[in-house]
């Protein structure tokens, strides 16, 4: 559903009212003709036909006025259209009262048609305005029957329909008036109740729609990013192999081996990229994470053992400092170990030779705090807030290490948050980076997000 501005919506409703009035005008003429000519009911034909003509003129003026506003498009003055609708409904109530006056007053069963006006008011106007219109209807109708009762204005008996003239019958007048007034207010109450709920639902749908469109756009960009990364690898692989297949490089040249080598390395990178992407998607789709209570110390030691060789290759000092008070946590041991291993590998990757990487854990209030620090290249301050975004790689990280999917930290964040924990980062460029992770202690209920 395309969102329509409130102004246009209001204008459309005003047009609807005009269309309804055309039907009413034709009906007045037809009903007068049928009642007086075919049914032989005594009516003030001249007055009634004149009112129908006046009503037509009035409707034409309203139509022209609305057309004038419609030309302004979105610039339509909201208040002006609302006022026109309000005035129209008041004028309709007044005209209906005059019509009733010339066709038997309280004896005319068309008095029930006031209820339609109350429903229309409730749909188009605010609750407050609708009750005001109901009050106006009760007042003008009350005034009509009062003036007719007091014989200040003439009463045209509906001879041929009502058995007797009823305008002086006090019980009948009061009874009808009581029902008329309560029915009017009840109609407004009920119609408004439904109308307000409908408007709320409509608004909720529109908000949901906007949100969905936004999400759809994010998804599109995601797909584009993934496509780009995959196609980049493929394009390079094809081009490298093309150099050999199309004999751009001499078959005996060493370059031939180099291009095949490059193509081979890129296929490995592409496979890794796809694997990581699949893993992230699978984690998102899989609602269940097997939860155990396990000692955090062992997990940290396992992660350290897994990366030790890599650290040694770069002569990096790898420190591990788990506080003796740190006990068990509840979660998926495999995933948590993976987070630590990935963050340690990242730290080693972006730390120059002979640097230091430290992992530590200590008890917090109701959680365990894990700290992973390095003396690496750091992250520029203006890029810090993006580091957990998928595919993001810091500008200096790209220069330092060409390879990287930009998905590692997104996965780490996802796993930590699914455990009800938090992860955050602090970094100074050319000095180092520190990650903090909090994980709930003991057997706290795992949060499915």
């Amino acid at each position: 559903m395309e969102p329509v501005s409130e102004n246009i919506r209001l204008l459309k409703r005003a047009y609807w009212l005009v269309r309804l009035r055309w039907i009413a005008i034709v009906s007045v003429g037809a009903a007068t003709y049928v009642s007086s000519n075919l049914l032989g009911i005594e009516l003030q034909n001249a007055a009634l036909y004149s009112i129908a003509i006046l009503l037509a003129l009035y409707n034409l003026i309203v139509l022209l006025l609305l057309n004038h506003f419609a030309k302004k498009g979105n610039e339509i003055p909201h208040v002006a259209v609302k006022k026109i609708i309000n005035v129209q409904i008041s004028a309709d109530l007044l005209i209906l009262t005059v019509l009733l006056h010339f066709s038997g007053g309280i004896e005319n069963p068309f008095v029930f048609y006031f209820i339609f006006h109350m429903i229309i008011a409730s749909i188009l106007l605010s609750l407050w305005d609708s009750y005001l219109q109901a009050t106006f209807a009760v007042l003008v109708f009350g005034l009509l029957i009062l003036l007719e009762y007091l014989q200040r204005i003439p009463h045209y008996c509906l001879r041929g329909f009502a058995p007797t003239c009823l305008h002086r019958n006090i019980l009948y007048i009061l009874g009808t008036f009581f029902v008329f007034a309560t029915a009017s207010y009840l109609a407004v109450y009920m119609a408004s109740y439904i109308s307000v709920r409908l408007k709320r639902t409509e608004r909720a749908y529109m908000q949901a729609n906007t949100l969905l469109q936004k999400k759809d756009q994010i998804k599109d960009e995601y797909v584009l990013r993934v496509t780009h990364d995959i196609k980049s690898h493929l394009a390079t692989i094809q081009s490298c192999l093309g150099m050999v297949v199309n004999k751009v490089v001499d078959p005996h040249d060493e370059q031939k081996v180099e291009f095949v080598d490059r193509a081979y390395t890129r296929t490995i990178k592409l496979t890794n990229f796809v694997k990581t992407l699949l893993k992230l998607t699978q984690m998102r789709l899989n609602d269940k994470l097997e939860i155990d209570v396990f000692p955090l110390r062992d997990t940290v030691h396992n992660a350290v053992a897994a990366v030790r060789t890599k650290a040694e290759d770069k002569s990096i000092i790898l420190n591990c400092d788990v506080d003796s008070s740190v006990d068990t946590i509840s979660g998926n041991q495999f995933s948590i170990e993976e987070v630590f291993t990935n963050l340690l590998l990242n730290a080693i990757r972006y730390t120059p030779e002979k640097g230091t990487v430290t992992i530590g854990a200590k008890n917090g209030m109701d959680c365990v705090v894990i700290e992973i620090a390095d003396t690496g290249i750091g992250i520029p301050a203006d890029e810090l807030e993006d580091v957990f975004d998928e595919f993001f790689r810091a500008s200096n990280a790209r220069k330092f290490q060409k390879d990287g999917t930009g998905l590692g930290l997104s996965i780490a964040k996802y796993i930590v948050e699914r455990h009800g924990g938090k992860i955050w980062i602090d970094s100074i460029e050319d000095t180092g980076t520190k990650f903090w992770i909090t994980l709930p202690k003991g057997s706290r209920q795992f949060q499915a997000t």
């Binding site: 780009h228 196609k231 291009f259």
Partner: protein
Amino acid sequence: MVNAKIMIVDDDPDYIKVIKAILEKEQYTVVTASDKTEGMEKIRAEKPDLAILDVMMHAWQDGFEMSRQLKKDPHLKNMPVLMLTAVENRTGIGFKSTAGDPTWLPVDVFLDKPIEPDVLLAEVKKLLSNKAENGTGI
């Protein structure tokens, strides 16, 4: 234009290697850069006869921004620009159809990765001879 100097700006070193080998085989002199900043610096210093840019480098539209920057610079605006990309279109609007548009995509030729060596060489030759005749690419 024999021995013309060509600048390649791409964040993919393997791809640079390929394009470089193709161009060097035809006796072109090749200069390379891996991002927008390095690319702009080297273009100003080396004054190449043609630039080959990748669209998506570090940031989403580095190549676009760079091409706009080049065409705005009075000293560089006559240098033809060839753009390569792994993603042909975004939000359904083909980039190729907008190539040459001075505000949106001020490049002379837009090509999809991977590119056949023959096609690349033909485009390069055409752009260089255009430049020699008219003094400009676009």
